[in-house]
Symmetry: C2
Subunit: 779 residues, 2 copies
């Protein structure tokens, strides 16, 4: 835990230079626009501890799978999003001495992430060893309006001298990953040059074109070695001189010599375009990057910034959550929303959400079930339906690969098992108990389809795309279930549930439940009036389904083994659970927590302690299936056994606590994730932010405190309460079936505003109400 950032409703502020915080701040102050992202590395060289991070969505290196003992079915490679061209760099040299905050006296250091405008500014005064002092103001944004573009303004003022300063804005592809062995490099140069692009005004552009090093895996798997071209255009006020161009392997820099005058700032503007082979043919990359940067440069820094701000204003207009009376909470929820909006914008169905977004290497930028289970509702409620839809289309595009993956594990006839982790549809994970057994991910993908259709009313999606996926998923569940002669029930053996502190267990309640649900939902969708028996013939999967197959699915769903602890209403987490030593989290000595840092794996597995509760996760997803007393009984049984050592756990438990009216518990659990990164609870924020758990915080407010739900028949329900010991008011909007509905909860009650031109009908505190266009209702 580390609290060095100032509280402010719209900004994150670091107002002192501490080398120990540099890497954490690099994560926290990251910028991104869904296509690219950048840790808040300093522009000028920094020789202190730092983790360079410049990432491009969908651009990955296929690294060779290395395991102790190979198991059939493991993927040959795992793709990982890697550190790429450093396009932010500006070397500064003052009379022969390099400006490097690790080597000079730093004062007045201040760094501000303006979340409203999505900009990063930094200012400081540095005294070099020569005694010369400069002040610096740096400012940058990554354009939300033209996702290829980023812009930096870097202002240096000599404070106590006049004399030569050189500045060298550069593009550097000679980079490594933090996790590289022996400085192994993943990139090679394709070309670098400075050219003059003709236009209204001739614009000097330096570009660097790099390609991921070809490995035998590229050959074997038929995937392309991705390429990136970065181009920059530099403008220095009052210094129109032609730069000296410096090139070396995978590097180009433009050096400008300036006779600086005491007290007069030198202003460097660097506009960058980054274009990748995901969007442009490799042969066209340099041309595309050059013309993009020339175009941006012609528009100019200020206009680029205005366009960028306009996009963010619209994002905030819809997705902001306002909290009055608790600035720390206000800052935190905005921080979370801000990063969610930076990470994924829904414009490109080939992209998804990595657990760390663009803020670090960890988890390799891959897509996990986190997307469907935690992030999906945020985008579904705060964006146009296309955004959430593209998250579904992402999986639909990868259906073929998921079927191949299923076949690799012995499943037939188009049964799909989606990867545990993926970038391009290939499995990128290699631990049998997870890769092969944490199959509940297939359930979350099915449920997201249902959730989308129910929320948006877009039933066309179901017939055009959804059924392809649902059928393949149901085929998987049908084959993965076996009939137990002993139990006279269908069972699912050998799985790992969301609670990864149990491995290879049988009849995991959550997995069995969501499997049965998927089978039932697919069967219903195929046979209901609106759904045809044979879905879209243009779909990806083998989509012919017989009546016999459907009735088999129904039989399995109906006969699925779902156990309750005898004499209680508590669902049995999995077979064998009752054999464990019955302890609660309070029984763990404080110095042994978190247990995953202190206990050996086998000890964790045989203990009762739960990383995140399967049953509570299931109660959260299928809340309408259970009376509130049953949910309460389960929560009261499992919550005391849950150590919440997944960053996804506490927020879901918080939602459920709100549901059962345990307001104190709900708030306590909400707090655990709300400022997880800002206050660095687990001393790991330097590795990157917990993007997917940020969505959980939003859930804890919207689905928790405000108890927003949609009934099975598609009616919105809101039943908010105010955590009044802590907050005076909170308010948020959601998009629902074309309407924008604001929920504003304060001491005086809950005000629901209909921002739309049509009337809406919704349950408020359990009572069905109509609210006319542009009207509001106070309950």
């Amino acid at each position: 835990m580390k609290q060095y950032l100032k509280i402010d409703p719209w900004c994150i502020i670091d107002s002192g230079f501490d080398p120990e915080n540099v890497e954490s701040s690099e994560s926290i102050f990251s910028l991104g626009n869904g296509k690219m992202g950048q840790r808040a590395n300093f522009e000028e060289r920094y020789s202190g501890k730092s983790m360079q991070g410049s990432y491009f969505a969908g651009i990955f290196y296929p690294d060779k799978t290395r395991v102790g003992w190979w198991k059939n079915g493991y993927p040959k490679y795992f793709g990982k999003m890697i550190n790429s061209v450093n396009w932010t760099g500006i070397d500064v040299n003052v009379d022969g001495e390099s400006l490097d905050l690790a080597k000079c006296k730093v004062s007045n250091f201040r760094r501000v992430l303006d979340m409203k405008e999505a900009t990063l500014s930094r200012s400081f005064t540095a005294e070099l060893t020569s005694g010369k002092q400069v002040s610096v103001e740096a400012f940058r944004f990554i354009s939300a309006s033209d996702t290829r573009i980023a812009a930096l303004r870097y202002k240096i003022t000599p404070l106590n001298f006049s004399g030569p300063i050189t500045v060298t804005p550069y593009l550097d592809g000679d980079v490594v990953n933090k996790d590289s062995n022996y400085g192994e490099q993943f990139w090679e140069e394709v070309g670098t040059e400075r050219v003059v692009v003709a236009g209204g005004e001739d614009i000097g552009v330096s570009f660097l074109h790099v390609r991921i090093k070809k490995t035998p895996i590229h050959e074997e798997s038929g995937i392309d070695a991705h390429e990136v071209c970065s181009a920059m255009s530099v403008r220095i006020d009052g210094t129109p001189s032609t730069p000296q161009v410096g090139r070396r392997r995978s590097y180009i820099g433009e050096t400008y010599g300036i006779d600086a005058i005491e007290g007069r700032p030198v202003v460097v503007e660097k506009i960058v375009a980054n274009v990748t082979s995901l969007d442009v043919e490799p042969s066209q990359l340099t041309g595309a990057a050059q013309s993009a940067v020339a175009q941006a440069s012609t528009l100019g820094f200020d206009r680029l910034f205005e366009d960028h701000k306009a996009v963010w204003a619209a994002k905030w207009e819809m997705s902001d959550v306002v909290i009055d009376g608790d600035d720390a909470a206000q800052q935190a929820i905005r921080f979370n929303i801000f990063h969610l909006n930076q990470t994924y914008t829904g414009e490109d169905a080939r992209l998804n959400i990595g657990p760390k977004g663009f803020t670090g290497e960890k988890y390799g930028g891959g897509t996990y079930w986190d997307t469907e289970a935690f992030c999906f509702p945020f985008y579904l409620c705060t964006s146009d339906p296309e955004v959430a839809r593209n998250l579904l289309i992402y999986r639909h595009r990868q259906l073929g690969k998921a079927i191949e993956n299923g076949a690799k594990l012995g499943f037939k006839d188009g049964a799909a098992l989606y990867p545990m982790v993926t970038i391009n549809g290939e499995e990128c994970h290699n631990e049998w108990e997870i890769t092969f057994e944490e199959i509940h991910r297939n359930g979350a993908i099915a449920y997201a389809i249902y959730n989308y259709v129910r929320h948006t009313g877009d039933t066309e999606y179901l017939t055009e795309y959804g059924l392809d996926v649902l059928i393949a998923l149901s085929r998987f569940w049908a084959q993965r279930s076996t009939y137990s002669q002993d139990k006279k029930k269908w069972v699912i053996l050998g799985v790992t549930g969301p609670n990864e502190y149990e491995n290879n267990v049988s009849n995991n309640w959550y997995t069995n439940y969501i499997a049965a649900w998927t089978l039932r939902y697919t069967a219903e969708a195929l046979t209901s009036g609106s759904g045809p028996l044979t879905p879209n013939p243009g779909g990806t999967g083998p989509t012919r389904v017989s009546e016999a197959e459907i009735s088999k699915w129904r039989e399995i769903a109906k006969g699925m083994y779902l156990a309750t602890i005898p004499g209680t209403e508590v669902k049995l987490q999995n077979d064998g659970f009752l054999d464990k030593e019955m302890l609660t989290v309070d029984d763990i000595p404080a110095n042994e927590r978190p247990i995953n840092q202190h206990w050996s794996w086998d000890r964790i597995l045989r203990s009762i302690f739960i990383k995140q509760s399967d049953v509570i996760q299931g109660m959260y997803v299928f809340m309408d299936d259970f009376p509130v007393d049953v949910v309460r009984a389960n929560f009261e049984y499992y919550e005391p056994k849950t150590v919440h050592e997944s960053s996804l756990s506490a927020s879901i438990h918080s939602v459920v606590a709100s549901h059962i009216g345990d307001v104190d518990k709900a708030y306590e659990l909400y707090l655990r994730t709300a400022r997880l990164d800002l206050d660095d609870y687990n001393n790991e924020v330097h590795e990157g932010l917990h993007i997917t758990s940020m969505a959980g915080t939003w859930l804890a407010i919207v689905e928790g405190f405000a108890r927003k739900r949609v009934t099975p028949d598609g009616t919105l329900r809101i039943a908010p309460y105010l955590p009044r010991q802590h907050w005076k008011r909170y308010a948020f909007k959601i998009k629902y079936r074309g309407c924008v509905i604001e929920t504003d909860v304060s001491e005086r009650g809950c005000l629901i505003r209909n921002h739309s031109d049509t009337a809406i009908e919704l349950y408020i505190d359990g009572v069905l109400r109509q609210i006319g266009p542009r009207e509001e209702y106070l309950s």
Copy 2:
């Protein structure tokens, strides 16, 4: 499956040169003497496919543990026995052309492993590209009488020319492991030189001294970087000239130019001494190697060979199994016994038995539970008690490390968990479901102590050493067992049994049974009249045991959960077993076997199929605890579900089949392992031999067909039958409490010969008989 070797009762014969068989034969024709071992690599250079293998017992490289996701408790390194100095090499050059069987016409190729004398000979005719023909006869042995010494005789005869031939016997430490990445080397040179050692006759000796490359692991773990010094003395009949000495990094060779005459053989004798830092201080190594080789050279090749033969004659005298009427079986059992005797001699309690002995790199030369569970009875019955005792002492020496290992996994108060794989006592394995959970190995170690004491009557061992180990093991079991409120029984959760096709299961019958047995046996040993309550205070472990602790052990043992399948006498393999799809091995399509090469791991785990049966293993170990009908019921239940994809499985099942009188099944199962390597059943013999499964074959005969056992009160029992459809007769000796007893089974009955000077009492076919000194009894 590959059958290219001739059947012969005492020899293994390969009578044709097929490059495809070279690597297999390198394994099969390996030589060793317990301290060193050598694959049957050709003396002359060979550019074809080959796996070089020269190994020294106890000499290992500590390689860094690499896993996908680190788990607390994993060892930092794993030691592995690595390919070391090539001391067999002799380069031959005929008039400028290198002799290389991959590059010339080969005829009359013949290779013979003489198991009786433990020698390898090879002869062939080669026509070089020049048209010149030579015949070669090579002969080698690794001395069983002086374990530092090996000797080669290499005879080359020009067949159709006279002219210059050069021969270069050499020592080469510039070697890699087959499993090295990028040709990474594990050895570095300490020094190499040719010196003349003064003696009755001056002897020229070339030596090469190498050391394992230091890694950070050596530093961290405080282990030494092992060293080896090899020294050679060369004699060439009629060519007394001083050689030209060639040296390069980690290499020394002596080149002799010979004017060869058509039809007249050139005979090269190379005597080698290999000395390691396990036995000699590094600073003394070169001196020790030089004087050892000088001494051996003075004795001369023939005398060395005589001494060697004498040792082997004694080994065979005691350990041979004679089979009449089936030469393939005769050859196979001798092959197995031969390799067991080559791998372990029991002279050094720091050494043990790797699953591949000295015949390949696989499994890293580490000690597994195989030693106690499969190999131990062979040495116990065929050697002096010191040999088996040293196998026990090996574990006793490592008790401290086993307690450390236990502590790493959270066990307290001197509870020991022995490593799954080890060389020096440190865990060398890193898969959680095995490393942390295949804890039944602790049971096998306890049982071997009991087995030794019962067989030898050496109760002193128990008080001096055995109790230290038993107490530490019992402490482990007591802490590893937890009380299930649900079952009202003690349970052991989260284990992997001998059947590795189930992972992380609870209440594995075998594990629970052997745990309870260990607790009971330790308690009895501590409280019986002969055993003191506090054992040897000079012992390694924390050996004070209170009455309360002992009664706790008894309580757990008594209350241990051991389930039977309702309505049957069949023991339940583990919790959840009955949920599986009830199939038998016949249900697996032939093209999907072995399933471990065709099915993904999760599919194997959730299937009913058993790698080797836990319950049958338990019935084998604790046969006296169960009526034969119960054993039969269990065998008939589990055997049809067992795929025997462990090389240890079939032989134990065979013993149990013999016990229940299923003679056909016993023989069928015996056949599966008897010629496993000779006929290369699994197309993997090129990687090395299955040394520990060889002991299983011996068990299938001695404990199976002859049904040799020892009653709990220490009385020998023999109840043999003859597999008469296949064999005319079989006979073997065992050592038992100072006596040598021969069992000779043929059509006329079972003849028991007492080769001792004292009378013995034993059960023959269930009846207690006395046989006087040097007498025999026919039943």
